[in-house]
Symmetry: C2
Subunit: 465 residues, 2 copies
């Protein structure tokens, strides 16, 4: 008689065989392809799927999900592989569904400021395509991620403070559910009160409730004027207080990013910016000419009140681009500062009033442990990142880093914040959900069980059944 393990292998083999019959060469079982699809290169353990399916249509995804459901084989959706919390790993094996070939922009409705795209479209691809329409899609998590992946992980980034996250910017989506049904979660109307919000349920569900195959997005007019600038502050507290005042006065800042002293040093060395090595805010304003000028001046006055400044701002595109390139390269700059060590990025988000305290306590903890971890933050939202550097061959340092990391997460939760503002749960943050959600986790489990009773959709992520 076959053992359970043999039965499982048999059913995977049968499922893969049936899918190969559908996709031909678009079903890969090569070790290199499998490895690449199961590991996100973070400290979260990777695990290769049994096969990778390069899909072209919603109907193909449906057929694959039906086959995987029949044999109870896991399905793991894959976009660009740029997620950071182990979302793409296949700890129980199964079939990785790679949507990168589904990269058509299906419609752009200029009058309605919306579009519909396939999940493999990347944000840069979308914005290149949109340029002639005068519209843009603002969400910018740094990496050139796929819209499908950004939707599944509820991505945000530098200008969420003005434009919101994927939560606010996905108008509707189409998903193949675990039972093989194709569901479109909402219509194209800007708002609706017609039943449960299935769009928001799937945004951030990380592939555990269904495979997203089309996304309707909100778009925005490219601002007539964009002003950007940088402003040094004497302390982290001063910078955070200036941020609070800016938000409170309703200045519609498009980006407001904090770099701590360590990050500024690293960025100076990497990009040769020659900035004063003190906490620094990078800002951007969108509006009319008069509007961005007024916003910039108002911010300058606020900064001065908190001992910051001078606030240098520029409306020329090349100056702005140099600035934001330096901000986007923050991670590479700190990596260059610590050659030979690995960097583990994490993020938390707290109420903005607790931000200075949370960042300061974290820096104190890092200093006490003798660890290096520059901090960069989307501070208008109370969201910040630490890049924890670690020599993985040194077990003492690994322990220190893991302890500091855990204290950081629990500190954020204790401040009524969240264990992740934008990176998601994946496998990496699952252990913190009980502390964050309490009985809410039971509700999440009920939903997962009801929608995916066989637990085939990206199993082992978000909630353990």
């Amino acid at each position: 008689m076959a053992t359970p393990a043999q039965l499982k292998r048999n059913s995977v083999a049968q499922a893969v065989g049936e899918i190969a019959g559908l996709l031909g060469e678009r079903l890969s079982q090569s070790q290199a392809v499998r490895d690449q699809h199961g590991d996100d290169l973070t400290w979260n353990p990777g695990a290769a799927p049994d096969a990778v399916a390069f899909v072209d249509t919603t109907e193909e995804v449906q057929a694959i999900v039906q086959i995987c459901s029949k044999y109870e084989v896991p399905v793991i959706p894959y976009g660009t592989g740029t997620s950071l919390e182990g979302h793409i790993s296949a700890p129980s094996g199964g079939v990785s569904i790679d949507v990168s070939r589904m990269n058509d922009i299906l419609e752009v409705n200029v009058e309605d400021l919306d579009c519909r795209v396939e999940p493999g479209v990347t944000r840069k691809q979308l914005n290149s395509y949109l340029r002639d329409t005068g519209l843009f899609f603002p969400i910018d998590p740094g990496a050139d991620a796929s819209i499908g992946g950004m939707t599944a992980t509820r991505a945000s980034g530098t200008n969420a403070v003005r434009y919101g996250t994927m939560r606010e910017n996905v108008l509707n989506l189409t998903a193949v559910m675990p039972n093989g049904e194709i569901v479109r979660t909402a219509r194209r109307a800007k708002k609706s009160a017609a039943g449960y919000d299935l769009t928001r349920l799937l945004v951030g569900s990380e592939g555990t409730l269904g495979v997203i195959t089309e996304i309707g997005l909100k778009l925005y007019g490219i601002p007539v004027s964009i002003a950007a600038g940088i402003c040094p502050f004497p302390s982290l507290e001063a910078a955070c207080n200036a941020v609070i005042m800016t938000i409170q006065l309703g200045i519609p800042v498009a980006r407001i990013e904090l770099l701590d002293e360590e990050q500024v040093k690293a960025t100076n060395n990497y990009a040769g910016l020659g900035l004063p090595e003190t906490p620094m805010l990078f800002l951007e304003f969108h509006g009319t000419e008069a509007g961005t000028q007024e916003q910039s001046e108002m911010f300058g006055e606020i900064a001065a009140e908190y001992g910051g400044g001078p606030f240098d701002w520029a409306t020329k595109e090349e100056d702005r681009n140099r600035l934001w390139q330096a901000r986007h390269d923050a991670f590479w700059a700190v990596k260059a500062a610590m050659p030979g060590k690995e960097a583990f990025a994490t993020d938390v988000c707290v109420p903005i009033s607790r931000l200075a305290e949370c960042v300061s306590e974290t820096k104190k903890d890092l200093d006490e442990q003798g660890l290096y971890a520059p901090i960069v933050g989307h501070v208008g939202d109370g969201n910040f990142h630490a890049s924890l550097f670690c020599d993985r061959s040194d077990p003492d340092e690994v322990k220190k880093v893991k302890d500091v990391y855990e204290r950081l997460i629990l500190r954020a939760i204790a401040m009524d914040g969240t264990c992740t503002g934008e990176h998601g749960v994946g496998t990496g943050k699952m252990k913190f959900l009980e502390a964050e959600h309490g009985a809410g986790l039971h509700v999440m489990r009920s939903i997962k069980r009801a929608i995916d009773p066989k637990n085939i959709m990206n199993p082992g992520k978000i909630v353990q059944l």
Copy 2:
């Protein structure tokens, strides 16, 4: 042996008895109180609950839900009773949970621009309370509804075009779930990627998944300058095109409301405004002095391009109030125009590019049927209301009105719109959810069954099990 009906009556009596033991005089079985809590005075049939519980705390709600779960007796949450789609009726009897005594504002975090309130707090109460802080809560559905009810029905209203709906403005909430567990859906951080979005699942769930007992809300700084104005247009199409252009140019209009010719006539008669009797936009701009002036001027130019104008705008509070009072009285104005008839309000929402077409076809249909139904719209969102007048003693007219109503809803859905932009589903719009959501309705049913397996939470609303 007892019949099922007798058993049911017995279990209701036992549940009510146990609740009376907890609440004493705060549990009412008076016919008048029961009738008032089961009927929303719309054309949706009312049905009185068996008893009304006037609760004081989350723990009392929990105890009541536990009792009702034990005896499988329905629970119907009640705020101010101002909902419009039969949400509060008790078609299977049960206990109405009246939260009006839970009206404390629990905390206001000025630095974080948020607050936490009990569900019985009304929006006007909250804004009075906030006045000294320089903050306000923008969502304004017209009626002085409770925040709990507004959350449960995903309310919006005149300034959703700028500030969003309850979907965007509820930060987190506490709910008693059908199994008696108390769940807080999220922390106070502005964004999070930590698991399924339980906040958005409960916003708009209309009491069918849990009883909301606390709500965390986003707040905004009161704008330094508010400008408001009115602008006549030669046609509905011209007015709608001006709206589209305004939104597309990114003018951050705070309110942009359409009144059709019939509505302007009725409003003139009711409020003596002396407006030209042609389609009219009512607008409001929020910002700095310079900002609102610039926005007003830009809108004036757009209006002129489409043959509209002159655009009269005012920044004085008394002038603005007179204007918005007239807008808010729109329903009373049309009621006064048709004495002796009942008015049935409904709403739909379509992509803004289809708005003019949807409104025009609806008006044509009304004219062909000889019916009177002025139209008012939150047109920046593509959302509009028709007040259908009907002599209920005339079966021919009732049929005509119902047919026009049904064609209106299906027309909106066919335009990729929704059967309700803001009034909700209740009992009134359930029959349209299949056309709107297709297989999505199966997902909604799965969720309802998983979270409320005994179907005690506001049964017979949104989804039929």
